[in-house]
Amino acid sequence: MKEEKLEKLLNELADVTVEPSRPDFADDIKQRIPHRLIPPRSGIDTVNIIIDLRVSKLAAAAAIIITMVLWGSFLRGSDSIGDSLYKDGKKLVKDFLGAGNEENKALVAKSGYRHNMFLAKSRYQYLVQRGEDVTYYGDNIDPQDSNVVLMQWKLSDGNYKVIFADLREKTVSAEELIELQARMLHEKTK
């Protein structure tokens, strides 16, 4: 028998030896889908939040100073001792955000990212508790890329709500979402 004919017969054999599986087989497999497919690298439980805060000492310091400044503004720029605390606070923030210092800039950017992630995780938790089927990509993405999708969930009208890494929100169609996800995967594999 010639090779071409043999190959043709083998292809045909594939078509004729199609044995259907039992009807509820797919459902049986789906029942075994683990509740948590991939455990997130950094959890969203209290312990991890504390760890996250502990790691970002500078972000915590900045948050404290900003709070002090805001309270100062709220009290019309003065406190019981005088306005020295408010002024010092403003100066500290200015120094911390330090225009010229590259190291500071990097730290501020890092703190900003951590802050975004913290807010995003809180939002994710809230949505999950509300019963939304949210997909959170935070542990698998490059958060420096502001156009990357951080999380998504389906809306009642069939569209999807998408939150990007810079916390922008957008409502997109299923096709647009597929394009965004495909782009994410390609960026990651580059």
Partner: protein
């Protein structure tokens, strides 16, 4: 063949990597029949094929982080299934391969005589594939029956394309020999 476009598969992989359970269910819907048939074509019984198919999906969910892109999804899933199959044969040495029971040959307007002759040829070939050594059987099943490309099939069994091609031609030679011997 796979109806899912590249973009859709990429989207599926992105959601799987994010741990989306709906995506895991979608993966089952797309591939469970193919993986089950792959197991049956490798000579496992119905029950064992079901068990190994379930095991393959379970392994896929556990190691989804290793998947690179939607393009590799088909070969990656077949790789997991082939490993599950090999492990089963290793653990159950001496167990005989079982071939798929019936064949549903379309009429195609052929005369009864031709139809019977054609059916015999297919039956011979089916037995020939079933009698191949496992390594050769894998190559034939992956390429001709599961319709993976040479590159995909080679990746699925973890060999180079050259090695795969050489195994495939050995398998075809062996099949020709078997059929010729039966015809005598």
């Amino acid at each position: 063949m796979n109806r899912y476009s590249q973009q859709r598969r990429d989207s599926l992989v992105a959601r799987l990597k994010a741990g989306n359970r709906a995506a895991a269910a979608e993966l089952v819907d797309i591939y469970y029949e193919r993986i089950y048939l792959f197991m049956r074509r490798l000579g496992h019984s119905r029950q064992v094929s079901e068990d190994l198919t379930q095991e393959s999906f379970f392994q896929a969910w556990q190691h989804i982080g290793r998947l690179r892109s939607g393009k590799a999804l088909n070969s990656w899933l077949h790789q997991i299934a082939a490993n599950a199959s090999r492990l089963h044969w290793r653990r159950n040495k001496g167990r005989k391969a079982v071939s798929i029971d019936g064949m549903d040959v379309p009429d195609n307007g052929k005369a009864e005589f031709d139809k019977v002759g054609h059916l015999e040829q297919l039956e011979q070939l089916k037995n020939g594939v079933a009698n191949l050594p496992m390594k050769l059987k894998e190559t034939v099943v992956l390429h001709y029956m599961q319709h993976l490309t040479i590159a995909e099939a080679a990746e699925a069994i973890g060999v180079r394309e050259g090695t795969f091609k050489s195994r495939l031609s050995r398998a075809l030679r062996a099949l020709r020999r078997q059929i010729a011997a039966e015809d005598r």
